[in-house]
């Protein structure tokens, strides 16, 4: 049973209705890229609060480290050097789960209750229900979830749902020394962002703006960008993220199925098999699942 403050909005592969009685506030984390100094305090705080420690890696010729998100690095700073109008900029973006309002991972997930969206907007993975199929990876328009090689479960930023549940800001927010990461109601965060955008425009960033992409219904992690017209500059932040049509298709057939839970169990061994190979689900497997689905739907 979830905490009251973590009222559930929707669960993966579940069609029974979620609770609807209580009203909770929609929250958001705002990352003001223009105030971020790339100190990685957020990475450290994330590791400490969540008890995860990645490998001590190597330097790969850049400031980034760890180089990518992993099952043990739920947030990483991505450093990009760009030259715009003869001016050098070092864009530093904190990457991690965006907590989409319309979460592709949850839609794609075949395992009941492995992915939860709380009514406050947080999208959380419940690893005890995860079957390690990797569908969330395919479903995510931001390439965020990672499957652990140790336990074949998917991991990503939880927006510190445990902290938020007891009225605390996420660990990264708490650790950020410059206030580049803000946390509050989504409404307040939008207001705050508007002020920052106005300031940036005054400083000559005409295209400054808020990143809250509507293709995924908006996100609960948003960015203030100096160049909101070119999110791609920030280590490939997608300009118009949307859920892969494949996931939409799969979801479209699955939705009316009250028996999806059973199907999930039946397919469990197959999914498990899949994850023993590469973490990405192959197109063939995808098609196969879809075929089976169609048959079942008949």
């Amino acid at each position: 049973m979830a905490l009251q403050s973590l009222d559930i909005k929707q669960r993966s592969a579940t069609t029974t209705p979620s609770t609807q009685v209580r009203e909770t506030i929609e929250i958001a984390k705002l990352i003001d890229v223009s105030a971020c100094i790339g100190c990685k305090a957020c990475q450290v705080a994330c590791s400490e609060w969540n008890d995860i420690r990645d490998e001590v890696g190597n330097c790969h010729g850049v400031y980034d480290n760890p180089m990518d998100l992993t099952a043990k690095s739920w947030t990483v700073m991505r450093f990009t050097e760009v030259e715009q109008n003869n001016k050098l900029e070092w864009l530093i973006r904190k990457d991690g789960c965006m907590h989409c309002a319309d979460p592709g991972c949850l839609k794609a997930c075949p395992s009941p209750g492995a992915i939860i969206q709380y009514s406050n907007g947080i999208v959380d993975f419940h690893q005890e229900n995860c079957i390690g199929c990797g569908y969330c990876v395919t479903g995510c328009p931001f390439n965020v979830p990672r499957i652990s090689k140790e336990d074949s479960k998917a991991y990503k930023c939880s927006l510190c749902s445990d902290r938020v549940a007891v009225n605390q800001a996420p660990a990264c927010v708490k650790a950020c020394p410059t206030g580049a990461i803000q946390f509050g109601s989504k409404e307040d965060m939008k207001d705050y962002a508007a002020k920052r955008v106005a300031d940036l425009k005054e400083r000559g960033y005409d295209q400054a703006g808020l990143y809250d992409p509507q293709g995924v219904g908006g996100t609960h992690v948003m960015y203030v960008l100096h160049h909101a017209d070119k999110p791609d500059l920030y280590a490939g932040l997608p300009a118009n993220p949307s859920i892969s049509p494949l996931v939409a298709l799969w979801k479209g057939f699955a939705k009316p199925l009250a028996t999806l839970a059973l199907a999930g169990v039946a397919l469990g061994s197959l999914f498990h098999y899949v994850t023993k190979g590469p973490n990405e689900v192959s197109k063939e497997t995808e098609d196969e699942i879809e075929r089976e689905d169609k048959e079942e739907a008949k």
Partner: protein
């Protein structure tokens, strides 16, 4: 810092040069971001690299490592030629109008009085013209060609924008843009804060880099103002604290001078060191030296310090000569030192020229390492592959490791860069056999004392009679120590104006250094800390963050030295009549009968404006010094000199005078001059620095820091990388004339080749932090590369500018 961390939020312009606060001081840097967000402040960065601070700056300009004086001299020239100075301030609050001795001049880069053989100056002529009244002669019109203002103008007239571009490699337009930003703060109600750190100090001209900024801030009228000042960002939570407590051997606690053999008795010492009054009616606060010094002796030797024995003046060790870090390791290298206590210090990694330091340590009979960690230094004798190639069979140094607790495992205080002393409480017990540093030192002292008592020894008295009145002698508590630093009254302290009035009762803790006496009736372990633990209790433990000023002054949070003053020279934040230059940021104002406002006045509280008591109370003249007399070893005005390892054949400002190539007054030891590399063999300029992911040589021992930045890297520009066929991620070898290191190449747009004096100069950036001990990937020690030469005043090594070559490993 003349101001404090929170005060940065009050600035209109945050000027960062010689530091990289976003990288090295991320927590304090939040106040720069606050100023940007809430005051629309601008952030300007001048640095050899487009660094993390530059990533959030409004404007960035590149500069060649080691050319800061040329740049800042250019700024001074810009302000003077474009008349962008705060006239009223400059005229009243600086020594602009003071007449300088006729004998002083600069000839082709060398000031008068130079002795080439001794590499030092006779400073007799670097002085004021004295009038018959015993005071300095002044010309209030600032027109006399010998007044400091005119000399300053002439001196910096050579630092044209063209010359700046030529010496620094900074494009002229970028330099002028920076000047425009700075010049805006000449308005009385606009301020610039200067944030700097080791990027200015770690040069053979380090102190003069900072002097340049002192001149600039005086010209702009930014000293004493909220959002102004010169702010040294100290590198460690408590490095201000250790400096206050005599980190440098030439200082006693509270920056008191250490006596030498040239001062055989207390009277001679005090006569020599007490500053003279140079202008009528000024406070000349330094005249109280005898009170601070005698109270220190009373704290240390108690009843054994009597009026008759000059308060045990003979007990104080006399400075035998230079005792800075380079001098100590040079003496060790020459085999003149047998034993070395190495406490909280990893010199093999952190002192320049690792090879020389390692060879020096090998000449010791014993070394005691007092540290929470197994440092590289403690294993200097142990082979670690190519990272530390030594032969233990040839090293006879016996090494003892005494494990100590870390900061979170002890109670005590930190003094931050803003001079705010903050008490902290132990969070956890230390591991294993770790003991507090104080317990280890107390144990050593008590055993030594016992040995002297039993076996005798040369001059045992200073040890036998040292005050040691701690409840548990082997474990002095942090509370007892802080109370001792603060000091107390040994007899009733009375009002000098009314001896019947008792100000402090005998036995009470003193409220301020104003109560210190030189008759032996008070003790004080560090005069600038007096007040930190008064009768009211431990003021450093106060945690009231209420801020009625809105300026972040928070006078009831901790305790700032001196006397809880948050902004030094704050009298200068108001005009001659005592009216704040900027009423919205009032620090101090004249209330009609006394000074008041939002800080502790840096002024006699009842000194009415018409008495003309000037704001710089620690100087004998009461004003800030554009001309610094003989206080700096290389001259009263900063002059550009090349780093000891320079890519140029000559100083572009003095192309025909080889004597003026590098700092003429910097000390160079035998053998070290030969160890300097030449540009033909080592064509690239190297500079070393810290990364935000690590703290010095500590956190390489911490896994989580190691994850964030696991391995030594080296930053080079794209152009140099292309020339050398190096791509990002390649392993590269960097050589200086003293050795080599290897690292992973980071190829970046953020370091550009600069056009210096017609020559293309590439900069190679080398982070420190790595070594052969720790959780990070085992690596070389960066200071293998750095030259063993320091600033002429502080002897801080020139870590920031030297020559290397680079190749694919």
């Amino acid at each position: 810092m003349t101001n404090h961390w929170v005060d940065i939020k009050n600035a209109d312009l945050i000027f960062v040069m010689g530091g990289n606060p976003a990288e090295a001081h991320p927590c304090g840097f939040k106040w720069a971001i606050e100023a940007k967000k809430n005051r629309k402040a601008k952030l300007v960065v001048v640095d050899p690299r487009f660094n993390r601070t530059a990533s959030v700056a409004d404007f960035y300009a590149p500069v060649r490592p080691g050319s800061d004086i040329a740049f800042l001299g250019g700024v001074i020239n810009y302000l003077l030629t474009n008349d962008k100075i705060h006239h009223e301030y400059v005229k009243a609050y600086t020594n602009a109008s003071f007449l300088i001795n006729e004998g002083f001049s600069l000839e082709d880069g060398i000031f008068t009085g130079y002795n080439e053989e001794k590499r030092s100056y006779d400073k007799a002529n670097w002085s004021y013209q004295m009038g018959e009244d015993g005071f300095v002669k002044v010309d209030q019109t600032l027109q006399d060609p010998r007044c400091a203002f005119q000399l300053l103008k002439t001196h910096y007239s050579r630092y044209t924008p063209e010359m700046v571009a030529k010496v620094c490699g900074t494009p002229k337009e970028a330099f002028l843009k920076v000047c425009e930003y700075i010049a805006e703060t000449a308005a009385p109600d606009r301020t610039m804060t200067s944030l700097y750190a080791l990027g200015w100090t770690e040069h053979s001209v380090g102190s003069q880099n900072i002097r340049c900024m002192a001149i600039i801030q005086l010209l702009l009228g930014n000293m004493g103002m909220a959002g102004g000042g010169i702010n040294a960002l100290r590198g460690h939570a408590n490095v201000q604290g250790i400096t206050d407590f005599a980190l440098y051997a030439q200082n006693l606690p509270g920056y008191l001078a250490v006596p030498s053999d040239a001062e055989p008795d207390l009277k001679t010492f005090l006569d020599k060191k007490t500053p003279k009054l140079l202008r009528p009616g000024q406070m000349n606060f330094g005249q109280n030296l005898s009170k601070w010094y005698v109270s220190l002796h009373k704290a240390w030797w108690g009843d054994a310090a009597t009026k008759e024995n000059g308060f045990a003046y003979d007990f104080m060790p006399k400075l035998a000569g230079a005792s800075d870090v380079l001098s100590i390791f040079d003496q060790m290298y020459q085999g003149k030192i047998n034993g070395f206590f190495c406490q909280g210090f990893n010199p093999l990694a952190s002192v320049a020229n690792k090879k020389k330091v390692g060879d020096a340590l090998a000449k010791l009979k014993y070394m005691v390492v007092i540290d929470p960690l197994a440092t590289d230094t403690s294993e200097f004798w142990k082979p670690h592959g190519e990272f530390n190639e030594v032969n233990p069979a040839e090293i006879q140094t016996e090494v003892f490791r005494l494990p100590t607790t870390l900061f979170a495992e002890t109670t005590g205080s930190f003094t931050n860069s803003g001079r705010v002393i903050q008490w902290r409480w132990k969070a956890v017990e230390g591991p294993g056999d770790a003991k507090d540093d104080t317990e280890i030192l107390a144990g050593l002292f008590l055993r030594l004392k016992e040995m002297y008592a039993k076996d005798g020894g040369a001059y045992a008295e200073p040890i036998q009679k040292l005050t040691w009145a701690y409840r548990i002698p082997g474990k002095p508590s942090p509370e007892e120590l802080m109370m001792e630093y603060n000091g107390k009254a040994l007899a009733d302290v009375t009002d000098p104006k009314d001896p019947t009035k008792v100000l402090v009762k005998a036995g009470d803790q003193l409220p301020s250094f104003a109560m210190l006496r030189d008759d032996g009736s008070t003790t004080c372990g560090n005069w600038i800390y007096c007040g930190v633990w008064s009768q009211a209790g431990n003021n450093s433990a106060r945690r009231d963050n209420s801020d009625p000023s809105g300026l972040g002054q928070t006078l009831n949070w901790g305790f700032a030295w001196p006397v809880n003053r948050r902004i030094l020279y704050n009298r200068a934040s108001a005009d001659l009549a005592g009216k704040p230059w900027d009423a919205k940021r009032t620090v101090l104002k004249w209330l009609g009968d006394k000074w008041g406002g939002n800080d502790i006045p840096d002024m006699r509280p009842d000194a009415a404006p018409e008495q003309n008591v000037m704001p710089f109370i620690m100087t004998g003249e009461g004003v800030g010094r554009l001309f610094s007399l003989g206080l700096m070893n290389e001259g009263p005005f900063p002059e550009h000199y090349e780093p000891f390892e320079t890519p140029l054949d000559a100083n572009p400002m003095h192309p025909n005078n080889p004597k003026a190539l590098s700092n003429p007054a910097a000390r160079v030891y035998k053998g070290d001059m030969e160890a300097f590399g030449k540009a033909k063999d080592f064509p690239y300029v190297a500079t070393t620095y810290r990364l935000t992911e690590h703290f010095h040589y500590w956190t390489k021992q911490s896994r989580i820091n190691a994850i964030m930045q696991p391995e030594q890297f080296v930053e080079i520009g794209e152009e140099l990388a292309k020339e050398k066929g190096i791509v990002a991620g390649d392993k590269v070898k960097i050589r200086s004339n003293r050795g080599f290191i290897k690292g992973v190449a980071v190829v970046t747009k953020r370091i550009k080749a600069l056009d210096v004096d017609g020559k293309k100069v590439h900069t190679v950036g080398i982070p420190i932090h790595y070594g052969f001990k720790g959780a990070t990937k085992p690596g070389f020690i960066t200071n293998t590369l750095t030259p063993f030469v320091g600033d002429a005043n502080t002897q801080t090594p020139e870590y920031k500018a030297f020559l290397v070559n680079i190749e694919k490993a």
